[in-house]
């Protein structure tokens, strides 16, 4: 009964989404206020039914209703409650439901928090989001229904993919999806602005906070995903340029370009057409990412052939959304004329360079990700494109970008005296080059050019941003800066510092990590990176739905106890062995121990030990970036506008009453 209610709720949500997709846009076009008035009820109604549908599937998981095929395939009675809840988005059908539900939530939030935006604009925005909702719900109902029942329900379900049975995964997909779907708001604003023919600074201002929030979620999602891979996959890697990772990274890069380009559009009224195009591409890449990951095309191009209905629908949906918006763009873009002047040396040029580099980077990653698929589909041969390729493309492109970060922030809008700017930058340049070399020569284990590059860039970004900070204070100095800098300014400051932190993490971890695979007996110890690892054997233990070998490794430094680690090797009921590494996290280094196999019957085991300097800085940098985006989205000017709108609405209401 419950699954049927869920099914019915999905269909009703679709019906309301159709209303939401048609009437507000048509109403805004015709100036029909009663049609526009349907915006909020249809969006909130759709959200209500999506909540019911989502609740029904979650309920199915919680009560182990194995008559639902999706529940039977992805859970069993011994699965802990947390993973019953997160299992809802653990596979294809459920994750689509989750995606659509997130979209409903974003739509609902947009209808509730857009008082400062004209009604017709909100109607168009919500209408565009309605079109996307319709697409997803149709895809689900036609090809990937999560509520499909089994005629003969099994007594016990199968297992949730053991990789996904982890708290990190409880938050990774929701964050990522919040980001993906959040870009639909930026997209909808761009389309709405084109529909209305009013692409102006006001549009950029409305869409900026949403875009920042979406970007924040996407950043968090990627950071958590990387961190999860680091400790859960067991091999201490934090990024493998896997297509699945690239699928989330490409929209992130274009999204980064978008939040910078929106700044120019809002402050200077320039680059309007370009900003719209970026908004379209950012969301298109989010859609592409969702489908690339979930359609199975990455595992094998031929997965498409085995279930053509899904593939055909995806291609159709993508071409409607992307093709439709590009058509609209080509029609409207010619009418957009901005003739804002700026000199070659100016913040505008800096931000344009930022955009060009980011877009080129994203295109290159797309090329590397799709190339093997295309070759395979053409039957030309099977190749692998992996980290060596991506690193050799990514680093030369993004190193200049990092060098530009602080310079762009220091340059003024419109025009900047190159000589003055150069004079300002001379001292930071000397200090960062000197500092980078000094640290590499005297403080690091051995000299490496990559480390020099990373450190110079990181110090350079920090110093130029500090200079920016100092300049904001004017004559009052640092205290003045603390007072003068807006939240948006702080957002930029923290976001850019995040880049410096991230670079330090990446450079030092990739170059100075040490690792050792060894055979170790109970009572033996091994030294790595200045730490002694004493192995105290391993014993058999049982978890709720797995059996495990649990090792004990006592780590000490210069005879002093540092930490006791318990790496585990788990066997889940699905038969997949999983490593749970023992990790001691630290600001300057991580110690990472993974348990291998028993060797012989003397109680010896194979063990892998890592010493990873500064690896935390990679994720710390990401956290700084997302915190910066949050600050920027909470800038006071948005609240001021909202308050003003509210007061005016009240005044109007009072007038009407009188």
């Amino acid at each position: 009964m419950i699954p049927e209610i869920g099914q019915l709720a999905l269909i009703l949500a679709l019906a309301l989404a159709l209303v939401q997709a048609i009437f507000p846009i048509a109403g805004a076009h015709k100036g029909n206020t009663s049609w526009i008035a349907l915006t909020k009820p249809s969006a909130l109604g759709s959200l209500l039914f999506m909540t019911i549908a989502y609740g029904c599937l979650t309920y199915g998981f919680l009560v182990h209703d194995f008559s639902i095929k999706y529940v039977a395939t992805n859970s069993n009675t011994s699965l802990p409650t947390l993973y019953l809840i997160t299992g809802v988005w653990g596979a294809h059908e459920g994750s689509l439901l989750f995606w659509a539900y997130t979209l409903s939530i974003w739509t609902g939030v947009v209808t509730l928090f857009s008082r400062s935006v004209p009604q017709a604009m909100v109607a168009r925005v919500v209408g565009v989001m309605g079109i996307v909702t319709v697409g997803f719900l149709l895809f689900m109902l036609l090809t990937s229904n999560p509520f499909v029942r089994l005629l003969n329900p099994p007594a016990e379900g199968r297992d949730l993919n053991p990789l996904l049975q982890d708290p990190g995964l409880a938050i990774h997909p929701p964050m990522l999806y919040m980001g993906y779907v959040g870009f639909s708001v930026a997209f909808a604003f761009a389309i709405a602005a084109m529909l209305s023919g009013r692409l102006d600074a006001a549009w950029a201002r409305w869409s900026r906070p949403w875009t920042n929030v979406a970007w924040m979620f996407l950043t968090l999602g990627i950071v958590i995903g990387s961190w999860w891979a680091y400790y859960e996959l067991g091999w201490g890697g934090w990024w493998f340029w896997d297509p699945v990772e690239n699928a989330s990274f490409m929209p992130w890069i274009i999204g980064t370009a978008l939040i910078h380009s929106l700044a120019v559009t809002e402050k200077r009224g320039a680059f309007k057409a370009w900003t719209v195009l970026l908004a379209i591409f950012a969301f298109s890449l989010c859609l592409l990412g969702t489908f690339l990951v979930r359609s199975g095309v990455l595992t094998s191009v031929h997965a498409f052939a085995t279930d053509p209905s899904r593939g055909v629908f995806i291609l159709l949906f993508l071409s409607v959304i992307i093709g439709g918006s590009l058509l609209l763009y080509s029609w409207r873009a010619s009418q957009i004329r901005s003739s804002v002047h700026f000199k070659l040396i100016s913040r505008e040029t800096g931000l344009l360079l930022n955009n060009v580099i980011l877009v080129v980077t994203a295109c290159s990653i797309l090329l590397g990700t799709l190339y093997p698929l295309v070759l395979d589909a053409l039957g030309v041969g099977k190749i692998s494109v992996g980290p060596p390729y991506f690193n050799s493309v990514f680093i030369p492109l993004t190193a200049p970008l990092a060098a530009l970060v602080g310079v762009g922030a220091l340059a003024h809008w419109k025009r900047e005296d190159g000589l003055v700017l150069a004079r300002k930058l001379a001292i930071p340049l000397v200090l960062s080059v000197g500092g980078g070399f000094a640290i590499s020569i005297w403080l690091l284990p051995f000299f490496d050019w990559g480390a020099v590059l990373g450190l110079v860039l990181a110090i350079w970004v920090t110093l130029t941003m500090s200079l920016w900070f100092r300049e904001q204070g004017g004559v009052a100095g640092a205290m003045g800066a603390l007072k003068n800098i807006t939240r948006a300014g702080w957002g930029m400051f923290f976001g850019h510092l995040g880049i410096a932190i991230f670079i330090v993490g990446v450079a030092l971890t990739s170059i100075y990590s040490t690792e050792k695979d060894l055979r170790i007996e109970k009572g033996q110890s091994y030294s790595l990176g200045g730490y002694d690892f004493l192995f105290n054997g391993a014993e058999r233990t049982a978890g709720p739905n797995y059996l495990a070998d649990r090792g004990e490794v006592v780590v000490s430094k210069d005879g002093e106890h540092v930490v006791t680690l318990h790496p585990e090797k788990r066997d889940y009921r699905s038969g997949m062995p999983m490593t749970e590494a023992g990790i001691d996290a630290g600001l300057t280094r991580d110690l990472f121990v993974a348990l291998g196999e028993p060797l012989g019957d003397q109680g010896a085991w194979s063990l892998r030990i890592y010493h990873k300097p500064f690896v935390r800085w990679i994720w710390l940098g990401g956290l700084f970036m997302s915190f910066g985006a949050l600050l920027a989205a909470l800038d006071k000017r948005y609240f001021r506008l909202a308050r003003k709108a509210r007061l005016e609405a009240e005044a109007q209401a009072a007038e009407g009453a009188a």
Binding site: S116, V117, P118, M121, D200, A201, A202, L233, W235, G237, F240, D242, P243, L298, T299, R337, S339, V340, H341, F342, L352, L353, V356, V359, V360, C363, S364, L367, G368, Y371, L375, V380, G381, I383, S384, V385, G386, P387, P388, S392, V393, L397, E515, D517, L518, R519, P577, L595, G596, E597, L599, G600, A604, S606, L607, R608, L641, A642, A645, E648
Partner: protein, 150 residues
């Protein structure tokens, strides 16, 4: 101790079902080369994993092969050539430059040049256009749009 290691190694294929092997190298440089190689060679039966990260049986065999070749003094090129002959280009995470992969390797460079050229044309053309100053009426309209409709 040494004999014990030898013994453990002999038993490896039987005992080790997964991924942490206690290979011993007579030279740390060889160990570093081994690590580099297994990081850049692909496990052919896995979805997307290098030899270092995989616990598939094939990956173990290939690691063993790599280890033996490194230990016996083969150069990196020899080992890579051997692997490609045996398993094809698919085994390399850094695809070789061939007609079919030319676009892959040159592509980013082309995209970059195109991007910069477009950027330069854009800046040039923009600064040739006369700057349209908003009339005071337009200014007022813009201001009222920004203020009122929010």
């Amino acid at each position: 101790m040494r004999r014990f290691w030898f013994f453990a190694l002999l038993l490896l294929p039987v005992l080790v079902l997964a991924n942490i092997e206690a290979y011993r190298f007579d030279d740390p440089a060889k160990e570093a080369r081994y690590r580099g190689l297994i990081a850049e060679l692909r496990c052919l039966v896995c979805q997307n994993q290098n030899l270092a990260d995989s616990n598939a049986e094939l990956a173990q065999d290939m690691r063993r092969q790599t280890y033996e070749m490194v230990q016996n003094g083969s150069s990196n090129e020899e080992i890579v050539t051997f692997m490609v002959q045996r398993y094809g280009d698919f085994v390399l995470y850094s695809p070789p430059f061939r007609p079919s992969t030319a676009l892959l390797w040159i592509g980013p460079f082309i995209i970059f040049v195109v991007g910069v050229v477009i950027l330069l044309i854009f800046i040039r053309r923009r600064n040739k256009e006369p700057e349209v100053e908003l009339s005071s009426a337009e200014h007022a309209r813009a201001q009222s749009l920004l203020d009122n409709k929010k």
